[in-house]
């Protein structure tokens, strides 16, 4: 039987990373739960074995239940009935399966009923579910919102809400409004405190809310009357049992049909404040978004894997000119590149997950006791790495997943354009990944300061110091050369001190940094397991050599006075 975990040893490979030791030690508090909970690990090896087993069962249900339902879910989709969402019928089956499998509250502490798994295995579960059905993955992975409630809610709120999510209740994050998409500072949903009711009341509407009829919502709303920017926004918890929020309509989308995207109307919806007033956007939503972005990176890798699987299977099966098409260089070139992007992107994804794990575990420990100065330093280091890597991981993986979905159809030829093959669903599902939770362009905005302040450059210099297996040294030298080219480009841009110019070349610098980092990561992976990653490492370095050339050429040749040629309208139109 198919199993998305055991069929893809590239995922298990991630459990063997040296940093896992530190991650497990922190997450398990030196195995403090081992005698209190019968499912808690006794030691490091036991913890890794536990992750391995849960990933294996996830690989099983993903391949055999969720993937098998994907086509029906895509065709039926959810609908709106009396202000409530009715999922596609097979979505209920998927939910029942993941709940019975106990894949809820994966990262939450055991005292609330969670599995207390780190972000690394959570990410692996996430990508496998996305490989099966990216639309369902949305509904499932919104459990991630509980992280934010756990981090910023009080103990009473944790006790009331976290166990519910661990039992399988769903969540949503209600942020976007008709006039507040990428610019969340413009959120207008009104929160007023009612002395009479003894709680906050929410009024207004939200749009494009994924799984908007969830059981527990985190809502961004304007609590400070008369304010217009992000400082007037707070985060609220809305419990569906309270009533007051209805679904006005469900969007008709290009892809991820299984996931209901809702327009919500709030009429005196009773809500409670999460954390402190005015920190809704500037602190909590930022945390929420970072988690969500890593989730989309995992979803993207999952779709990439599915696109590769479909392309590979078709290429092995389809015969033309007397042989299977996988034997034609034009076809195996596409597949090799798909696999290389998949492997390099996955490596970046898990590197990010590991950084998130260490700083989040330390942050959590800091709620229990004062950290030592070494721990504080460690938390700072990893927090910064997570912050710098998240936009790279989200942006690049979502772009790669679109490219892979495109190539998957290309391999299918005319058949791929027909609706019978899964590759067309993947193509439609992939499209949103580079848009929601911050477009790729916004990932560049989030990342560019790490380009200009030299953080990526410094990190690349550190990666260059790591040794690789002798057979990959020549490739490593090539990537080191790319680093030099990157640094020269960054220096040129920084020295120019021209904001418009910098913004125009930002995407190029961002991709160069990401390509080079992924180049080093895949070489490190190949050095550990040449059978698994050797080919991808070679293909990927060849690929990014050309990419770096393209980007560098752009930056090297573009003059500040050229920026005007890119503007499609005169500056004065906007200003007028």
């Amino acid at each position: 039987m198919a199993n998305f975990y055991t069929d893809n040893p590239e995922i298990k490979f991630q459990l063997n990373h040296p940093l896992m030791k530190r991650i497990v030690e922190l997450k398990e508090r030196s195995f403090a739960d081992k005698d209190e909970y019968d499912y808690a690990p006794q030691n490091f090896e036991d913890a890794i074995d536990s992750y391995d087993r849960v990933l294996e069962l996830t690989g099983d249900i993903s391949a055999n239940i969720i993937a098998a339902n994907a086509e029906d879910v895509d065709a039926e989709g959810p609908h709106c009935e009396n202000g409530r969402v009715k999922y596609a019928s097979k979505t209920y089956e998927n939910l029942d399966t993941t709940i019975k499998a106990g894949l809820n509250g994966v990262t939450m502490p055991r005292r609330y009923g969670g599995l207390n798994f780190p972000c690394v295995p959570y990410t692996a579960i996430n990508e496998m579910i996305a490989t099966a059905d990216a639309g369902f993955e949305n509904i499932w992975s919104l459990q991630d919102c509980i992280e934010t409630l756990y981090e910023f809610g009080d103990e009473d709120q944790r006790q009331r809400y976290v166990p519910r999510v661990c039992k399988g209740e769903t969540m949503s994050m209600d942020l976007t409004e008709p006039d507040a998409g990428s610019d969340l500072q413009s959120v207008m949903l009104k929160a007023t405190y009612s002395e009479e009711e003894g709680c906050w009341l929410l009024n207004g509407c939200k749009r494009f809310i994924t799984n908007g009829d969830s059981d527990i919502h985190l809502v961004l709303a304007r609590s400070e009357e008369g304010t217009k920017d992000g400082r007037g926004l707070s985060m609220f918890i809305y419990d569906k049992n309270q009533g007051g929020v209805n679904v006005r309509r469900i969007e008709n989308k290009l892809g991820i049909h299984g996931s209901p995207t809702c327009e919500l109307v709030y009429k005196n919806a009773k809500a409670e404040l999460c954390g402190s007033r005015k920190l809704g956007l500037i602190k909590y939503v930022m945390a929420l978004m970072n988690g969500a972005r890593l989730g989309i990176a995992a979803q993207s890798v999952g779709i990439s894997q599915a696109a590769y699987n479909e392309g590979l299977a078709y290429a092995k099966d389809r015969k033309q000119f007397g042989k299977t098409i996988i034997n034609f260089p034009a076809v195996f070139d596409m597949l090799a590149l798909m696999k290389a992007k998949l492997d390099a992107g996955r490596s970046l994804l898990y590197a990010t997950a590991r950084y998130v794990d260490i700083y989040k575990a330390l942050e959590d420990i800091a709620r229990e006791r004062t950290l030592t100065s070494e721990e504080r330093q460690e938390m700072k280091t990893f927090s910064k790495l997570a912050d710098a890597f998240t936009p790279l991981s989200k942006g690049m993986n979502s772009e790669y997943c679109n490219q892979n979905a495109y190539d998957s159809i290309q391999i299918h030829g005319g058949s791929g354009f027909m609706l019978e093959y899964a590759c067309q669903r993947l193509y439609r599902d992939a499209r949103i990944t580079s848009i929601y939770e911050g477009t790729t362009q916004l990932q560049v905005v989030a990342a560019i300061r790490y380009v200009t302040n030299g953080f990526y450059g410094q990190h690349i210099a550190e990666l260059e110091q790591e040794t690789v297996a002798p057979e990959f040294q020549t490739l490593k030298d090539r990537v080191i050369k790319m680093g030099e080219r990157y640094n020269a480009c960054v220096n040129k841009v920084v020295d120019l001190k021209d904001q418009d110019y910098q913004d125009l070349v930002a995407r190029h610098l961002y991709e160069m940094a990401a390509d080079i980092i992924m180049g080093h990561l895949i070489l490190a992976d190949a050095s550990k397991d040449a059978n698994l990653f050797g080919k991808s490492a070679r293909v990927y370095v060849n690929f990014i050599a050309a990419e770096i050339e393209k980007h560098a050429s752009f930056v090297e040749n573009l003059r500040p006075e050229d920026v005007i040629n890119y503007r499609q309208v005169d500056n004065s139109i906007e200003e007028a």
Binding site: S50, V54, L57, T97, K100, A101, G102, L115
Partner: protein, 293 residues
């Protein structure tokens, strides 16, 4: 009311995805070439048991399997899905059993467990496909049997009656029966739920004594003292007071004379019209040849 439920499970070679080496040249199943799996219809039976347990809190599910020590794997699989305890019936003298000896052995084990309200098993195992063991156990225990069950529709704890939907040729049949009884479950029943993460982590180290190497035995003794649920019960022939004449090869009157590969082939095709006369002619012909009826 809480129920005591016994589920019969068998570890079988996975005959659903057979390769060219699935049979030995002698015509027997090449067990080495086929992965050992939980007999599919036994999983359907387990699901029915789990649903009853949900409906009647406090109910317990005991899973019983007979086989080699490694068949304890099906017990673990059942524990991962929600069963409470398991029994591996394993003994050299039990080997080579046909359905008669198997049903005798299992019925002895069930008697020893005792106090049961309902015994559930798959309709048949995919290795032998006899569908005899469940009914024979019912006979040996003197219990009512309902075979080809698709769904347990209702269980009335006061009257101790159960209503079961059976999958029969051409439709379904709903029957009522008294507890205790034996129910064999058809593959068309609800599929079994997945393994549960927490339960997998809890029971992953559970073993039957016969599975442990001498080195493991020592470490396990210590562990089992602290966590008794990590021990899978293991019974031999003596533990279940089995009559040596009725078990294993000795207790098995069945002899397999030969196993043949039969390939179904369509020899010829005929074309007929949709006219009433043609259809009637075909029906008569098929009835005559006992193909339908």
């Amino acid at each position: 009311m809480s129920l005591k439920i016994v589920v019969l499970a068998k570890q079988v070679p996975d005959t659903r995805n057979v390769g060219p080496d699935a049979m030995t040249p002698e015509g027997t199943v090449n067990r080495a070439a086929l992965p050992a799996v939980f007999n599919p219809e036994d999983l359907n039976a387990l699901e029915q048991a789990l649903r009853l347990k949900e409906q009647f809190p406090g109910s317990t599910i005991s899973v019983v399997t007979m086989g080699l020590p490694k068949s304890a794997e099906v017990i673990r699989e059942a524990l991962y899905r929600g069963a409470d305890e398991g029994y591996v019936i394993t003994d050299r003298c039990l080997g080579g059993a046909d359905t008669l000896a198997t049903s005798y052995t299992l019925s002895q084990a069930i008697k020893k467990i005792g106090g049961f309200d309902i015994i559930l098993g798959g309709r048949q195992a995919i290795d032998g496909d006899t569908a005899q063991v469940g009914p024979q156990i019912a006979e040996k225990l003197g219990l009512t049997q309902v075979t080809y069950a698709e769904e347990i529709l209702e269980l009335n704890p006061d009257t101790r009656k159960i209503i079961i939907k059976r999958h029969v040729d051409g439709g379904v049949e709903t029957v009522e029966a008294p507890l205790p009884l034996v129910v064999t479950v058809n593959g068309s029943a609800a599929p079994c739920r997945p393994r549960n993460a927490k339960r997998v982590l809890k029971y992953k180290n559970a073993t039957a004594p016969a599975e442990r190497t001498p080195e493991q035995a020592e470490a396990m003794a210590e562990l089992v003292a602290k966590k008794p649920y990590l021990n899978i019960n293991q019974w031999g022939a003596a533990d279940i007071d089995a009559d040596p004449e009725q078990i294993g090869k000795t207790g098995s009157p069945t002899n397999v004379k030969a196993v043949k590969n039969i390939v179904f082939k369509a020899k010829e095709s005929r074309t007929m019209t949709a006219s009433d006369a043609d259809i009637e002619g075909l029906i008569v012909e098929l009835l005559d040849s006992n193909t339908i009826g």
